[in-house]
Amino acid sequence: MSGADLALAISVFLACAVEAVEALTIVLALGTTRGWRSALAGAGAAVVALAALVAALGPVLTSLPLDVLRVIIGGLLLLFGLQWLRKAILRWAGVKQMHDELLAFQAESRAARAHGATGSGFDGYSFSVCFQGVLLEGLEVAFIVLSVGANQHRLPLAAAAAGAAIVVVVAAGVALRAPLARVPENTLKLLVGVMLTSFGMFWSGEGAGASWPGGEVALAAIVPGVFLCAWAMAHRLRRIGGADGGDRGGAQRLGAGDAPDAGAVATDSGRLTVTR
């Protein structure tokens, strides 16, 4: 396994772990308030759907010409990475509220209780919320697994890294029987954002026909460069806020344009809003 393969496997593992923690919160909230059978059935059905998606699209992607594949995949990774990085910078700068798994759990539990009592049989609400929650949280990871795996022809490695992350998170959740609030999700999201953005830039550049100085060695400059840029932007935003007389004081406020990042929030109608 090369250094790039290892870095990609770690990126997939971290991305999947972060999303799995958020999905676990949904399933725990529904399971503890409305019963486990339907909640676990919904989560299991979503995992099967995601695995089927990866299995179906993987061979299609790997059959594309390498340059086309790299532009498409590099572009997608770059877009996903920048979304993660943007949120991480806004949180780091104190502009956006930090993700709090306990708050997400409480919101989910309230919504589940408000939806009414459960019967002894199949709970459609619980199944539906868990299915949608796990599917939506997992969809981006499925695309990351597909992108990374197809581009490096390492789909089994990427899928194994994602699977390992799910096993670790679920095992921790079963052991604790509580949301994994101590996982440093915001830091992990920043790291994943840096890695996805870096690999996205590298691959889309190669796919477009450019040659990076030093080939893959260029990644050793791109990754820290992206991290430093993110750090500088967050630092600058904090300073601008201080100079404008903003009362940050540790209180991180939500903006109008970005959704509150409390994970997946089930509404009374059963519809789900998931924020990354």
Partner: protein, 69 residues
């Protein structure tokens, strides 16, 4: 028809995220890079320049929209 529109909207939000301008900028930057390579220029530097600029515009705009940070 409504289902197709909803699915298209969900796919768009999935790809573009919170700031569609950032996504559009990335697509344009990759296009510019490909065009320059087509003109026999090794334009590897386009993305390392464009990505931080686009990201800064996006985060500073998000911060400005809600007043002092």
């Amino acid at each position: 028809m409504r289902h197709i529109a909803r699915a298209a909207g969900a796919a768009w939000r999935f790809i573009a995220g919170d700031d569609w301008r950032l996504a559009l900028g990335v697509v344009v930057a990759i296009g510019v890079m490909a065009a320059l390579v087509g003109l026999s220029l090794n334009a590897w530097w386009v993305l390392p320049v464009a990505v931080p600029v686009l990201l800064w515009i996006s985060v500073s705009r998000a911060a400005r929209r809600r007043g002092p940070v």
